[in-house]
């Protein structure tokens, strides 16, 4: 017979959602089912809103690692079915805790019992005491201490109507809200370090993040396109599928370069990007844009220049990195696995399209005056008409 394990999934803020809790749990369960393989003997149970996953022991750790990538999961524990016998349960507890003691020397722990089978002859606190005292009798001398509030290790026991399960220590998840619970959003991706981090943060707030990339292949080659595709695939590890919209941007850049004030170029490029992103978002009913902008990081990200780009769109613009420094952003990029791709060498357009000293406090009236000098509406429509839409899977 195949040895089984049961994973208990704890969710994060869904618990706070009151009447909507069912809705959030349903989405989370759907996301979990989609992320995990469908053919390896995995079964799901949702007794009174708790998500339990029954699966073969051999794949438990592997599946646990996959749960760490799903937004909305606060933590999970892998559990073993046992006989409701205190000696047996305590014996397993010693087995679990002893190795941790060896590496730490001293360890604070507690036992927590949840008893849904009210026919069980002992109450939860009584079970805590029975099991806890048995474990202490064996491990107290080795440095084990009971500490209910400050426990480093929690030994959890679930006494159900059909079985009794004990769980190992909690493994942390991504927390946040399940992808899809907040709706769709469009992220402007450049291929750099920041935008994937911004996308990931929004995915962890329940958004399904789609991507738009402004491409300039005739000048810069296909490198940027491939890079953004790869980054989108990495973000999709956390959220499943999403769309990548690729906009040919070279004609707009050439027109701005040829007709507008040199120092305004960057802000003008960005105003066009925002307008196009706005159109795509409206077309696909996405009520928000997300960017990797961080205040003051580069000339185009000053308060004035951010205002100068935001005013061309009527959609909410989210900038989750606005108050972060570069170091913090890099740390997050490393954690989510996009950093190594983001720093791959990619030709940039500096020498071709960048002004030697870009404006840091763009005035909207002057920018609008520049925009009268080229046919931006026609160019915007042409770019949208030539947009490529890619359904991106995950890496």
């Amino acid at each position: 017979m195949i040895e089984k394990r049961t994973i208990l999934v704890r969710y994060d803020e869904i618990g706070l959602k009151g009447g909507n809790r069912k809705y959030f749990t349903k989405i989370l369960l759907k996301n979990i089912k989609r992320a995990l393989p469908g053919d390896r003997g995995i079964e799901y149970r949702v007794p009174r809103g708790r998500i339990l996953i029954d699966l073969p022991k051999s794949i438990a750790d592997e599946i646990g690692d996959q749960l760490k990538m799903i937004p909305g999961i606060a933590s999970y524990s892998i559990g073993i079915s046992v006989n409701p016998d205190f000696d047996e349960i305590a014996g397993l507890g010693v087995k679990l805790i002893e190795p941790l003691l060896k590496s730490k020397g001293k360890l604070k722990f507690c036992v927590r019992t949840r008893r849904s089978a009210k026919t069980f002859p002992k109450t939860s606190p009584e079970v805590n005491f029975e099991v806890g005292s048995r474990i202490m009798s064996q491990l107290q001398e080795k440095g084990l201490v009971v500490d209910i509030k400050g426990a480093e290790v929690t030994f959890e026991i679930e006494i159900g109507t059909t079985d009794t399960i004990i769980f190992d220590n909690r493994h942390s998840g991504l927390s946040g809200l399940p992808v899809g619970s907040a709706g769709n959003i469009l992220c402007m991706m450049s291929g750099g370090i920041d935008s994937p981090v911004a996308a990931h943060l929004m995915a962890c707030r329940g958004c399904r993040v789609h991507f738009v990339f402004f491409d300039n292949q005739p000048f810069l080659g296909r490198g940027g396109y491939e890079k953004v595709l790869k980054l989108s695939k990495i973000i999709n590890r956390y959220q499943g599928r999403a769309n990548l919209f690729v906009i040919p941007f070279q004609d707009i850049q050439v027109a701005i370069r040829d007709h507008c004030r040199e120092e305004n170029r960057v802000v003008l490029y960005r105003r066009m990007m925002y307008r196009i992103a706005d159109s795509i978002a409206k077309q696909y009913e996405m009520p928000g844009l997300v960017t990797g902008e961080s205040l003051g990081q580069v000339a185009s990200q000053t308060l004035e220049n951010l205002a100068a780009v935001t005013c061309v769109t009527s959609i909410n613009v989210f900038r989750p990195l606005i108050g972060m420094n570069k170091e913090g952003i890099i740390k997050r990029a490393r954690e989510i696995g996009t950093y190594e791709v983001s720093i791959e060498p990619q030709p940039d357009c500096c020498a071709v399209f960048m002004p030697s000293s870009p404006v840091t406090r763009g005035k909207i009236s002057i920018l609008e005056n520049d925009e009268e000098k080229f046919m931006w509406k026609e160019l915007q429509e042409e770019a949208l008409a030539n947009m490529e839409t890619i359904k991106v899977d995950y890496l």
Partner: protein, 388 residues
Amino acid sequence: MIYLDNAATTSMDPEIITSLQDYMRVQFANSGTVYGIGIDAKKKIEEAKENITFALGIPSSHNLVFTSCGTESNNLFIKGLCFPDKKTAYLGLEHPSITETLLSFKNFDNAPFSLLEFNRQGRLDLSCLPLLKEKKIRLLCLSHVNNELGTINDPVPLIDAMKKESPKTRLFLDGIQAIGKIKLNKCMWSGLAGYSLSAHKFHGPKGIGLLVYDSNLNLAPQLHGGKQQFGVRAGTLPVPLIMAFAQAIELAIARQQKTQEHFKILQEHLIGGLNKLEIPILYNSSYGEFQSPAIVNFSFPPVEAEVMVHHLEEKEIFAGMGSACSAHSKEPSKILMGMGLTKEQARCSLRVSFSQTNTIKEIEKFIHAFAEAYQTLLPTFKDRAVGR
């Protein structure tokens, strides 16, 4: 598609693809085993070596060691012979697999001696040779044909002069851009300590290189393991790749004269065509006896080569950059800078390199596309310093 970056790599000869598939199917055995099929595989390697030796006119005084690529051959010979304290010299315009290998000795207080002041259009001026004796240089490393410029260091006069002026200095040549593209003088072998080759530069497969070296020399192995290949390079031998290497070299040598003549026609056509354009062009490669006709390198400031490459790419024309420039490494080509080009000139350089399958019509299409892209791009780059 018009492929004009044959110094980077060549497409595989269809005949070799077919043979290689057969070799892979049949010759799968480990040539180090003692049973029949292993012995057969070993025999195939011996046969391949004989064919290579014959095609290149390598004397019995030299050993052949197969490697994974040209870079490995260069590393193996230089490190195997000179690491860590033997004195080395170079012109300074070689491929990074030579320059970086030599420069890695810096950590052992043994930086290579640069002869860049004796650079004459990418070639070594022989008047430097007494200096090698004075500096007690054990190994001089040079490109036979320069990978970016195509300029040739003629080995035979160099060897003769070295014998007189600095008899204790040995010569190592990087032959990776030479095989199949220029005529080899078989007299060179007796004066060569080492010579490196790579199959993918002459329509063979990637993943197989060769080092030819004087068997009197003791090379320290860089990969330790089994006793394959005189104990110099451990590792199971890729029999099918070795057979394909031999086949590619035989084909390359057999058609070398015809290829070279064809290259000369393409070279003349390209230079003639570029000269007719009203574009100020600066040639970094030379012309004539000491220039490989397979490579034409030229600059066209102020238009940046990287952007030119992408504009040509749009028309399915693929040419190489004279400089490796990327967002991360904004440094222009060390070779072109070593030749005395400005940063801007180096960034605005293209390397066109031919194969025997390129046609005059393709060159004409290239010239047309180049001129068109240049005119499109000129307004972008005009009046601005690319090299800032």
